[in-house]
Symmetry: C2
Subunit: 678 residues, 2 copies
C-alpha cells in the first residue's frame, strides 16, 4: 500500500476477485494487466476494437469495504465517445483502455471481454473449453521507413509487434511479405496481422490487413465415410457462425471404406481421384458456411480436420492401400500442422490446418476427437465410449489407463445389407414396438411425430411415405421381436408362430416378420437378424476385449457417439447385447463427438497438445489378431448373450425365458435340426 493515500485508489475486479491499489489516472486495462486479470484487446488500447469492455459495479461493497460510484472512473474520453457513437456501447459499459481510475471501484469483466472465455457447449455433463486459438489478431502501428536507418517494412512491423505486444521469435509467410508494403501504406502505417502461434514458441505472421481488422474464423471438419460436416467458428468468441454438411462424394467410388480401398487397388490413380473429390467437397463446404455467415473466405485462418484413417489418408493425398490389409500400417499417426494450400483448400492464402493424430490403423483422428470431446482421460470411472459406424471405434478407460480398438461391425447398423434397410432419412422407420400378445407392430418414421396407430398418421406420412427401416429402427425391431418371443435367444425366427400371426411368413427355409405391407413391404428377414447378430457381436466382443485387457468385468458408464449412437434407444441396444450391462442412467449419447472434438482443437491450441499426449499413451488392441476376440464374438451372437449377465437391464426389462439354451456346438446342431425339419 502506498503512503500517499490521496494519490491512489483501490481497484477490485469481479469475478476474479483480483485487487490492488493504483495511482489515480491509471487506465483500468493497464491495472488489469498488472494484476493478471484476463481482459481481451486486439487494438492494444486504442479504443478501436471494443473487446476490453468492462462494467462499473455500482453501490456499496461491504465485503470490499468500499463504495463504487460512477465518478470514481474518469468521464468518457473523446475516443471512447467516438467508439460509442460509431459502434455502440451498452449502458454502464466502459472501454477499460480509456476509463481511468479516479477513486475506489469494483469493476466487473463480463465473459465476452475475457481473452480465455469459456466456449459454450450444449451438453451439461461435458467439460468447459476455454477459448485460446492458435491464431490471434494484433493491431499495430508501424514506424515509417527512414533512409537513415534503412530496415525493411517487415523488420519494422516485427519491431512494432515486439514493442506493442511483446511478441517475439517472429517469422512471416512469403504471401504476407508480398502484400505487406501495400497494406502498410493503405492503412497509413497501421495494420492488423494474424499471428499463428506454434508449439515450439515460434510465432508466424500469416495474414495482414490494412488498418483495424476485427474478425477471423476457423472451420472444424468431421470427414465421415458417408458425410462431411463443417462448423464455422468465430475465433474471437468461439461462437458457431454457420454449419453445413454434405454427402462424401467418394461414395461414388464405394459405399464403405474397404470398397474405396479396393477401388484404389483396382484403379491406379484412384486415390488421387478420391482425394480431389474430397477436397472439392471441403472447398464447397467452406463456400457454403462462409456464405451463410456472410463472411469472406479470406477471414478463415484455421481449419481442423478429423476422419477415420482411410479418410485421413485420402484427404492428405496418401494412397490408403496399406490400410486395406494387415498389418494396417498408417503412413503417419502423428498430428499434422499444414498450410491450407498444401491440401488445395481455399481459405485465406495463409490459412493453417491442424489434423488430429490417429490412434491406430483402424482407429483414426475421429476417435481421437471423440476422446478430446468426452475426456475419459480426465476422470476415474471405467468409461466405455463407442463410436458406431461401419466400424465401431471403442475406447475404454480413465485417468490412469486408456485402451482403444476397432471392431468390424459391418454396415448393418447403418441400414445397409438389411432387406428393407435404408439410410436415416424422412420415411424411414426409426422406432418400433411389438405387442407380445398380438405380435402386432406400431412404429414411427423420421419426419413424423405420430405413431403408426395414432389418428392422422396416414395423412402425415403421405408425402414421404414409409420407405424402409433405418439403423436405429432395425435395432428396435430385432429387440422387440426378441422381447415378444418372435426371435429366440439364438436369433431364430420362430416359424411356429406363423399359426398365431400372419406377420410371420415362411421365406424359403426360414421365416420373416412383416412390419408393413403395401408398397414397399417392410419386413425383417432371418438374414437381417443374422446381420444384426454379426454386427452386435462384433461390437460387444470389441468392448469385452478391452474390458478383459483392463481386467474388469463391468463398466461404470457408457457413451454412444456418432449419429447412430444419438438415435439408438439404450434399452433396446442392451436387450440385443450390443453393449455390456451398465446402469441405464449411466448410458448416454454424445451426438457428433468427433465434430465437437475438432471444434475444441480449433478453439483451444492447448487441447491439441493435450490430445497428442493422450493419443500417445492410449494402448491399442488389435481385434484381428486377438484370439479372445473370436471367442467373445461367437459367444455374443446370442440375445443378450450366453456369458454376460445383465442385472441392470433385468431391472427394467422383462427378458423372455430362453427357448434354446446351449453352447455354440449345440446351437449349430439346433440349426441343423431345424433345417432338416423344414
Amino acid at each position: 500500500m502506498s503512503d500517499h493515500k490521496g494519490e491512489d485508489a483501490l481497484l477490485v475486479f469481479t469475478p476474479s476477485g483480483k485487487r490492488g491499489r493504483f495511482p489515480l489516472g491509471t487506465p483500468i486495462l493497464q491495472a488489469a494487466r498488472s494484476l493478471g486479470v484476463d481482459i481481451d484487446s486486439v487494438c492494444g488500447g486504442r479504443a478501436i476494437c471494443g473487446r476490453c469492455q468492462v462494467e462499473l459495479s455500482e453501490g456499496t461493497f461491504a465485503k470490499h469495504g468500499l463504495t463504487s460510484a460512477p465518478s470514481h472512473l474518469s468521464p468518457l474520453s473523446a475516443t471512447e465517445q467516438r467508439y460509442a457513437e460509431k459502434r455502440g456501447l451498452g449502458a454502464g459499459r466502459r472501454l477499460s483502455c480509456q476509463a481511468r481510475l479516479m477513486g475506489d471501484v469494483v469493476i466487473d469483466v463480463p465473459p465476452e471481454s475475457q481473452v480465455h472465455k469459456q466456449v459454450v457447449r450444449k451438453r451439461a455433463e461435458v467439460r468447459a473449453i476455454a477459448l485460446d486459438p492458435a491464431t490471434r489478431l494484433y493491431y499495430v502501428e508501424v514506424a515509417e521507413p527512414d533512409m537513415h536507418n534503412p530496415s525493411g517494412d517487415l523488420e519494422r512491423l516485427c519491431d512494432a509487434l515486439a514493442t506493442q505486444w511483446g511478441v517475439s521469435s517472429l517469422s512471416c509467410d512469403l504471401g504476407v511479405i508480398q502484400v505487406l508494403q501495400k497494406a502498410l501504406r493503405a492503412g497509413q502505417w497501421a495494420v492488423t496481422v494474424a499471428i499463428h502461434h506454434t508449439e515450439r514458441d515460434a510465432n508466424r505472421i500469416i495474414a495482414v490487413w490494412p488498418g483495424f481488422h476485427d474478425q477471423i474464423c476457423g472451420i472444424a471438419f468431421d470427414i465421415g465415410s458417408t458425410t462431411i460436416a463443417a462448423h464455422l467458428c468465430n475465433l474471437s468468441t468461439g461462437e458457431v457462425l454457420a454449419s453445413a454438411g454434405m454427402m462424401n462424394p467418394q461414395i461414388r467410388f464405394g459405399e464403405d471404406l474397404m470398397s474405396r480401398v479396393s477401388y484404389v487397388m483396382m484403379n491406379p490413380g484412384g486415390d488421387a481421384e478420391m482425394t480431389a473429390a474430397m477436397r472439392d467437397a471441403i472447398n464447397l463446404l467452406i463456400g457454403q458456411v462462409c456464405e451463410e455467415a456472410a463472411i469472406s473466405r479470406d477471414t478463415v485462418m484455421e481449419a481442423v480436420l478429423v476422419g477415420n484413417p482411410v479418410m485421413h489418408h485420402l484427404l492428405l493425398g496418401i494412397d490408403p492401400v496399406e490400410l486395406g490389409g494387415a498389418p494396417f500400417a498408417l503412413a503417419t499417426s502423428g498430428a499434422l500442422n499444414l498450410r491450407a494450400r498444401e491440401l488445395d483448400l481455399h481459405m485465406n492464402p495463409g490459412g493453417r490446418l491442424y489434423i488430429l493424430p490417429c490412434i491406430a490403423g483402424h482407429v483414426g483422428a475421429d476417435s481421437a476427437a471423440v476422446v478430446l470431446s468426452e475426456g475419459p482421460h480426465l476422470q476415474d470411472e471405467n468409461w466405455l465410449i463407442v463410436d458406431v459406424g461401419t466400424n465401431a471405434e471403442i475406447v475404454l478407460g480413465n485417468r490412469q489407463r486408456l485402451l482403444a480398438c476397432s471392431s468390424p461391425t459391418g454396415p448393418a447398423f447403418e441400414g445397409a445389407q438389411i432387406s428393407s434397410g435404408q439410410r436415416a432419412a424422412p420415411g424411414a422407420i426409426e422406432r418400433i414396438r411389438i405387442d407380445p400378445a398380438t405380435l402386432e407392430p406400431r412404429y414411427k418414421v423420421i419426419g413424423c411425430d405420430l405413431w403408426s396407430d395414432e389418428p392422422g398418421f396416414a395423412e402425415a406420412v403421405e408425402i414421404t411415405g414409409v420407405t424402409g427401416i433405418c439403423g436405429s429402427g432395425i435395432i428396435e425391431a430385432v429387440a422387440e421381436m426378441f422381447l415378444a418371443g418372435i426371435v429366440s435367444k439364438d436369433g431364430v425366427i420362430d416359424g411356429a408362430l406363423a399359426a398365431r400371426s400372419p406377420r410371420i411368413e415362411p421365406q424359403g427355409r426360414t421365416f420373416s416378420y412383416l412390419i408393413k405391407d403395401g408398397e414397399p413391404e417392410i419386413r425383417i428377414t432371418q438374414n437381417d437378424i443374422r446381420q444384426i447378430q454379426l454386427a452386435k457381436a462384433a461390437l460387444y466382443a470389441g468392448a469385452r476385449l478391452l474390458m478383459d485387457t483392463m481386467g474388469i468385468d463391468k463398466v461404470d458408464r457408457i457413451t454412444l457417439a456418432g449419429a447412430f449412437g444419438s438415435h439408438i434407444d439404450v434399452k433396446h441396444a442392451m436387450v440385443l447385447g450390443m453393449i455390456p450391462d451398465c446402469p441405464l442412467n449411466r448410458v448416454s449419447s454424445a451426438g457428433n463427438a468427433a465434430g465437437t472434438g475438432a471444434r475444441i482443437a480449433l478453439l483451444n491450441a492447448g487441447a491439441r497438445r493435450e490430445i497428442e499426449t493422450v493419443v500417445r499413451s492410449i494402448e491399442k488392441v488389435e481385434t484381428a489378431i486377438e484370439p479372445r476376440f473370436q471367442e467373445h464374438f461367437v459367444a455374443a451372437m446370442a440375445f443378450p448373450h450366453k456369458t454376460a449377465p445383465y442385472p441392470n437391464l433385468a431391472q427394467v426389462v422383462a427378458l423372455p425365458e430362453p427357448k434354446h439354451v446351449g453352447g455354440a456346438d449345440e446351437e449349430r446342431e439346433g440349426r441343423r435340426r431345424r433345417r432338416r425339419a423344414s
Copy 2:
C-alpha cells in the same frame, strides 16, 4: 590405459593426431567417433556409402613409438569385399566401418572422408570454407509395422533416425509422408532421407529414397540485372558439377533497374510478368546444369539465391515500386528460408531455398554475398570492396566496423550510353594504349590475343569484326587519352591537337578521338568522357563518403568485385580517379564474389548465420541524402581529381601536368570560354 595389455591396442589418427587405446576388434569408425575424429558416413556403418574410407599408414612411426602393419587391421570383411568389387576401393584403402583394430596402427583420414571437408576456392588469399550443408543424407533401417504396436511408418522412421543417427526434433514434409510407404516397401524397410537442419534446431525430413541414395546437390544463383548465373554443387563434396549462365530475360522490360521499376509503375501487373520471366529463366538454368552434370532435378535439394534489391523483390513476387523512390523501403531486409515450390522452382519437391539478407534499399543480397565471400569483417585493415554495375555497391571496414552504401554510377561502365559502347562480347575493344608522341592507338578485342598492330590481327578478327568498345575498354581509352594529353584534367578533349593528329576531329562544338575508322567507326566523344566522369565521380564519392564516415583518408586495400571489376586494369582505374589511392599491389579483383558468396551459403549453414549477423551490424550510409556526397561528387569529376592525392599511383604512372587548374567555378567558366571560342 588398460591393464590387459594383450587385449587392446593403440590407434593414432592423422592428420588430427588424435589417439587412444581400444579393445582389439573395435571398428575403426567407432573408435574415430569416440575420439571425435571427423569421418563421414551416410550409410551408418553398413559398407554401402564408402564415405568412411581411411588409409593405413605403414612403416615405423618413431614419433608414436609404434610399427603400423597391414596385419594390425582385420582382413577385408565380406561386405567390404563386395563394396570393393562393386564400387572399387583404392590401393591401401579400407572402409573404417568394417576394418577392425588388431594391433597398434596409424590411420590416415584422407580429406574426402572428412565430414567438414574444406571447400576448394580458386583464389589463395580468401578464407577456406568447411563443408557443412543445411541438408544431409541419412541411410536408415526402419522397423516393420507391428499390429501389436500400431505406430505409423513415419513414427518408426523417426524412431530409427533417433536411434541410428541421434537426430531428434523431427518433423516431415507432407510430400514425403505421401510417398513414404512406397519408399519403405520398395527399399525393403531401408531408406535414405534428406534432412534439412534449420537454425532453431528443428530437423525436417524433406525427401526420401528407397534403399541407399548417394548424392544430393544444391545450386547457387547470382541474379544480376543483366545476367543470371548458376553453379550446381555436390552437397557431399562441395565440388562444382556444372555452371551455366544466361541473359536475364527481364531485359526486355528495361535495360537497367530503374527502367524495370518504371515498367511496373506504368503497367499494372508488370511485376508479375517479370517475376514469371525470371523464375522461368531460373528453371531453365536448373535444367541446364542438371543436364550438364547428368543428374536428375530431384537430386537438387537446396538453392541459394542472391541479387540486388529489385531482382530480390521481383524473384520473391514483391512489387518493387517502393524501391524506385525515396525512402527506398525494402519489403523485407532479412534472410529468407523458403520452399522451392513457393517460388515455382522445379527441383526436388521438398527442395529448400535460402535467400541472403539485403543490406539496404540499394544494397542487396548480392552485396551481402560479396561480404560473405571476401570476409572484410574477419580482418583488421580498412578494406574497400566495390561491386561495380549500374550501381556501385561499396563496403568499407574491418572486424570492428563495416559501412555500406550504393552509388548511382549509371550504365557507362557497362558500355551503355557510350557512343561506340557495347556489352563485353567478342569483337569489343577491351584494351587500348595510345602513344603520347603520335597519338596513335593500338588495341585488343575480346576473342583475340593479338594487339591491333601485331601481324595477323586483321585475319584473326575477320569473323567477329571490331564492333565497339566495352566497359573496361572505355576506362582504358579515357585514361590513356588523359595520359597522352588528349584530355585535360577537367575532361575536355583538346581541339588544338587536331592539328597534330587527324584522329582528333571536331564534332559540333566539341571534339572526338577516332580509335578505328571503317565500318563501324569507333570513337570516344566529348559526351562519352562526360559519362565516364559522372560514373567515376559517383563511384569515388561513394567510397569517399564511407571513408569520411569511418574517419580515415586512405584505405589499406581495395577489391573490385563483379565481372567489370575483374576485367578492369587497376592502374587505369586509378588514373581516372575511380577509386582512392592505394598501393597498387593491394588492389585486386574478386571476380564474381556475389556468386561465390551464394556458393558459400549453399555449402555451409553456419555461413548463413554469420552473414545474417554481419548484415545486421553493417552501418548503412544513404548517398542520396548526404550533402557531402554531392561535394565529393563535384570534386571528383576531374582526372584523377582535385582534392585527392595519389602518391601510390604517382610512383608507377607519370601523370600529365595539369592544363586547367581551378575550382568547380573556374572549370565551368573555362567551359563557357571554350564554347564561345569554338
